[in-house]
Symmetry: C2
Subunit: 349 residues, 2 copies
């Protein structure tokens, strides 16, 4: 077997010397190197920002989305959206394990795993797209993928459906980081609280701020607000357009005795929401951007522009034990598990 | 006088309801609102990432850069680079102070100030570009600008030249944030340590890590490395191409007993250096991106892709008292002051 680099640089075709994620093109030749794991893929779970962009470009036409996905993968050797730069994750069975990792990794051929590294750096070959489920950002395929030695993964648990675990693992970075950041007594604003990562973050935030703390969830309309209220994850629910930062600030102040919050967590998947995240936070507070649609410069210059001394954090998709934290959240909360089962799992017809 | 909004939303022409920074077009009518300050502008100090882009687009032709700047300001009502999204700052004299802020701000008409909010949100009218100094990213103009009520500024100090103070204030966010983040005993890698913000950060980092800590400065070639060694700000200097993350990691390990660092500070102004910042940091460590060329998704997905549990911070241009911290650094360090005077100040011919 050929010897590979820990970070997968041996797969990079263009430009040479970079890592697989920033690379424009990587090799999706399925003859594995000694430190790689070959996966027989069942599904891709496309990153929400990426899927939204694909749907918009294709004007909702599923066949057009299929064509676009095949184009991207054939050109780049990976499913990295050229507009958003983001990827997603996949689920499949271990088909072959490279010689040099065989004894170092807790895996056997045949195991069902979810890769927790982004599709934006995962060598992928699609032989056929079987189906697309646009409501759950899922693409069912026949194809193969490669996991590098440094690539993180999760064995799928036995106490829940694969599809349920996958839905949780897809946003696993968010609840794990929220757990680290949030302190007892904090007031937290969650933008996009009714979405998949938003619901997880709301639940985890409420758990860790405790009774003296407050979680404020943002919803875009009354229907979603009513749904969010029914979960009881948030102390307050505000209905406001996230593209209007001054209104987001005003609605937040209204439900928080005129005070700014300690932390904003941005779980949206639409662009231009940096200022709506920054304005409601107190000086010395914290903004956590989990949205892949965040612009670095808009955040940096935006905070400066309004003279806000806030710490702004780039949501890292990986945090130690994030897979276990996300799965445990679903084990703990019956309400959340029910929502995930109803909204984010493929329905058998 | 017309009543204005604290954050300047009354100036936004397109799209309505947004703040001046993300707006595509704002009003540069110089008839001020009651909470605005009118400034007679001497110079613009263009953000380094923006100026690099302008120079490249114009292939170094100064007259072409002038045309491009006039085009941008006439179209947007502000000097916001359409490619990088970034701005810069300006220096000028207070010409008029709006009625509602007159008694709340420590300023008089005639005072010389530097605006510390980005040009990317500052209403600006250029009547004439007098000169461009490409080596110091400076544009000398005849024109006027507006400072909003929420806009931060610094009165220029009497114990140093205006141009020297401006050079320091332009990168004031970086040393102030480094001061907050760095702890005694830390090992710090500074990418772009030979540049303006890099030198400031190196000095401040060394001061706060103390004798038990270590500052490693990156330079791109031997000439720059020699210059950096001569400052004695860094314990170690490495020469490496920042576009090659694996090499950056290896060079860092070589001078740090095979150990990863606690913190990387990215002071570069070129794109695609996210992974070079992330790879050398230990799990649980911190990456501080001061570079305006940083891509949010490349950072977020990059860390996940290599399974790194690091906290990544978006450099905020504003931190409490950052103007005083930056000026004090120049007062403290004769070496740094000399470098700033030699490299970043307009030379009278």
């Amino acid at each position: 077997m050929k010897k590979g680099n820990k970070y997968g640089t041996h797969r990079v075709i263009e430009p040479r010397g970079t890592l697989p994620q920033p690379a424009v093109k990587i090799s999706n030749d399925m003859d594995i190197f000694d430190n790689e794991i070959l996966i027989d893929v069942d599904y891709l779970n496309i990153d929400s920002a990426s899927f939204t962009q694909l749907k918009e470009e294709a004007k909702g036409d599923i066949e057009m989305i299929k064509v676009k996905i095949m184009e991207i993968v054939n050109e780049k050797g990976k499913m990295q959206n050229p507009v958003t730069g983001s990827g997603g994750m996949l689920i499949g069975n271990v088909e072959k394990i490279g010689d040099s990792v065989k004894n170092r990794v807790n895996l056997n051929e045949g195991d069902k795993i979810a890769t927790l590294v982004s599709l934006s750096l995962t060598p992928l070959r699609i032989d056929k797209i079987l189906d697309i489920k646009p409501d759950i950002d899922r693409v069912e395929i026949e194809g193969k993928a490669i996991l590098f030695e440094s690539g993180i993964f999760a064995k799928l648990p036995v106490d829940m459906e694969d599809t349920l675990a996958l839905a949780a693992l897809d946003v696993a970075g968010a609840p794990a980081q929220v757990k680290q950041l949030v302190k007892s007594g904090n007031t937290i604003l969650i933008l996009g609280a009714t979405g998949k990562s938003g619901l997880m973050c709301s639940y985890v935030a409420k758990k860790f701020v405790g009774k003296k703390g407050k979680v404020i969830g943002q919803a875009r309309n009354e229907t979603r607000a009513e749904f969010l209220r029914s979960t009881k994850f948030c102390d307050e629910v505000i209905i406001v357009d996230v593209l209007k930062p001054v209104e987001v600030l005003e609605e937040t102040l209204k439900v928080n005795n005129g005070q700014e919050v300690d932390i904003t967590i941005n779980c949206l998947s639409i662009p231009n929401t940096e200022m709506s995240s920054i304005l409601p936070v107190r000086d010395g507070g914290l903004v956590y951007f989990f949205s892949m649609a965040t612009s670095f410069t808009k955040a940096a210059l935006g905070a400066e522009g309004v003279g806000k001394d806030v710490t702004m954090i780039i949501g890292n998709g990986y945090t130690k034990n994030h897979d276990q934290i996300a799965l445990d959240v679903l084990r703990e909360s019956k309400i959340l598990r029910k929502i995930f089962e109803e909204k984010y799992i493929k329905k058998e017809l």
